[in-house]
């Protein structure tokens, strides 16, 4: 019996060991190391002296690093708020009309989700061609319908560059929150909706007083995922505007800035693993703290089932 028990333990251990080892080695250890590395000065790939909080001081208050950090952070926050309104607002509206299950709703679901499955590189590259000032589809289209004065170098001027990339990002991802909202709305009991209808609720009242509060769990997930995505934003601005956040830092976000600090760039100078690790730790903390507290606050909106 004892041998049998030992055999069972070994069997369970054998099932769990590979997954534990891989996650430990390639997720837990690197994350923990990132925290450690931020307290050292670095010479290339080699760790040098322990310097306490110096990297954090440089990243937050040193010049010019502090200015860069807060410029990038400001852009990340612009990205987050814009996506909440443009991408997720549209998604909510689309989910609401998809919920009516009119003829063709399956097709519309598949269509809106198509860009979601494509790589950011493909989506970014195609829209970069579309937004080309001379031969791009967008300006050509504006000229064709007589709006010459609207045609402009979308990605080439600071006033429109970030907004253009945010629009492309919304185009790329809108299907994701839309179908999350739809799934959330479909979970609402039909009786509740029918009762509201019987009380004479129109679409607006239904949306505001029944669907919006009851779809809260999906909203929580969408807000948190959008926040994490906006703080980690990297691939889309990298493909569309380049590693330096051109023009003039207008599209610089923490992800790009972190990458430049870690691995250097043609114009951004030498790499510095110390400062980059400090940035990574700060980003990690902001994401973790905001996500946890926000999830709690948003969960309070959700009704107990």
């Amino acid at each position: 019996m004892l041998q049998n028990d030992l055999g069972r333990k070994l069997w369970i251990a054998a099932l769990l060991a590979p997954a534990l080892v891989i996650v430990l080695l390639f997720v837990i250890v690197p994350i923990a190391s990132a925290f450690l590395y931020a307290f050292y000065s670095w010479r290339g790939l080699a760790r040098a002296d322990f310097i306490g909080l110096e990297n954090f001081r440089l990243v937050l208050f040193g010049e010019p690093f502090g200015t860069w950090t807060f410029n990038a952070l400001r852009n990340n926050l612009i990205v987050f708020t814009s996506l909440m309104v443009v991408q997720n607002g549209t998604a909510f509206l689309i989910a609401f009309v998809l919920l009516k299950s009119l003829p063709g709703h399956r097709f519309h679901q598949v269509a809106i989700f198509l860009p979601v499955i494509l790589s950011s590189v493909i989506v970014g590259a195609m829209w970069k061609l579309f937004l080309n000032p001379f031969f791009g589809l967008v300006n050509q289209g504006l000229i064709a319908v007589g709006l010459q004065s609207w045609a402009q170098p979308w990605l080439g001027q600071p006033q429109t560059a970030l907004g253009s990339i945010i629009f492309v990002n919304a185009w790329h991802w809108v299907g994701f929150p839309a179908l999350l909202f739809l799934a959330g709305m479909q979970r609402i009991s039909k009786d509740v909706i029918d009762a509201a209808r019987l009380d004479g609720a129109g679409d607006m009242a239904l949306m505001r007083h029944v669907i919006w509060p009851l779809v809260a769990p999906a909203t929580t997930v969408v807000v948190i995922l959008t926040f994490i995505g906006s703080m980690n934003w990297f691939e889309m601005p990298f493909v569309m505007a380049g590693i330096d956040g051109t023009p003039a830092g207008a599209t610089d976000v923490l992800g790009l800035y972190f990458y430049r600090t870690a691995f250097g760039s043609a114009t951004g100078g030498l790499q510095d693993f110390g400062r980059a690790s400090a940035l990574a730790v700060l980003m990690f903390l902001v994401i973790a703290i905001v996500s946890v507290f926000w999830t709690r606050a948003l969960r309070r909106r959700e009704l107990p089932e």
Binding site: I12, F26, P30, I94, K100, I117, V121, M126, A201, M231
Partner: protein, 285 residues
């Protein structure tokens, strides 16, 4: 949607004008989503001059000249193959290793079960990109930087938490009577797992597989940092190089974008339901 109350009056059914307006909105939206992709495909058949002069019209001919140029003169086929190798190997490893762990967590009661489950769950939300510096140093010291194995290991580690979450949740729902009766018949634990339980877990494996395959296939960040050798590069990474090399030949660029989007789009068309539930899984309870 038009439930009737007892006196037969339909309740808040949408009138025909409203239905028509909603349909118009949905169709407009689908055009907004699909038209740019159609333009990419059509432009791939055009010459650069044709794209500049008549961007919205159909191509003069559907001869796949640009596609042939790409296939014969660039490393595109190699990038495609690399993406396939990395994605298939990563997803297979995630499913094998993840299913084993999920099976232990879902089907056996033992001390530490809950703790190990939470350990894996904590990996769900971790943005691993932020740990790229330690990963880079670690893989360099293991001799795994600039190798496909290095990429596969990172992707596996990144994918395991979600796979374990999805598979454990599913395996817990299977009835315990099945394995009890097999156990009484004297079947070994391995036999029970392999012949009785795992065949039942196939739907969850499909979901977990797609949930991980799409982000891995599309990933750009890790190859960007980890792979320098050109013949090892993956498709999204190769595409950025190619976009730079051919930046004046728009016909070739659009053909390249078409070709890069084609494989996953075909699979998506065939399995759209599984894709949607696979990618949104875990986000909705």
């Amino acid at each position: 949607m038009s439930a009737a109350i007892p006196d037969g009056r339909p309740v808040a059914a949408d009138g025909p004008i409203k239905v028509w307006m909603i349909q118009a909105f949905l169709i407009f939206n689908s055009i907004l989503m699909l038209y740019p992709i159609v333009i990419v495909v059509l432009s791939g058949f055009k010459s650069t001059a044709e794209i500049y002069s008549t961007p919205f019209s159909l191509p003069a001919s559907f001869e796949p000249k640009n596609l042939v140029t790409i296939w014969e003169q660039t490393r595109f086929p190699r990038y495609l193959l690399n993406s396939l190798i990395v994605t298939v190997s990563s997803v297979t490893t995630i499913l094998v290793v993840g299913t084993l762990a999920a099976y232990a967590l879902a089907r056996y009661r033992f001390r530490g079960n809950e703790l190990i489950y939470l350990f894996f769950l904590s990996g769900l939300m971790v943005p691993l990109k932020l740990a790229i510096i330690p990963l880079f140093i670690q893989l360099t010291s293991l001799g795994l930087i600039d190798t496909q194995l290095g990429l596969i290991l990172v992707y596996t580690a990144m994918g395991l938490p979600s796979a374990i979450f999805i598979l454990t949740g599913f395996l817990r729902t299977l009835p315990f009577e099945l394995e009890e009766s097999a156990r009484i018949d004297g079947a070994s634990e391995g036999r029970i797992m392999w012949s009785i339980m795992l065949p039942l877990a196939r739907p969850a494996m499909v979901i977990a597989g797609i949930h991980n395959a799409v982000p891995i296939w599309n990933d750009f960040f890790f190859p960007l940092v980890m792979v320098q050798t050109d013949r090892l590069k993956t498709l999204p990474q190769g595409l950025t190089i190619f976009m730079g090399e051919y930046n004046t030949e728009w016909g070739v660029l659009f053909a390249g974008l078409t070709l890069a989007a084609l494989p996953i789009t075909i699979v998506y068309m065939a399995l759209s339901r599984q894709f949607i539930s696979g990618l949104t899984h875990g986000a909705v309870k």
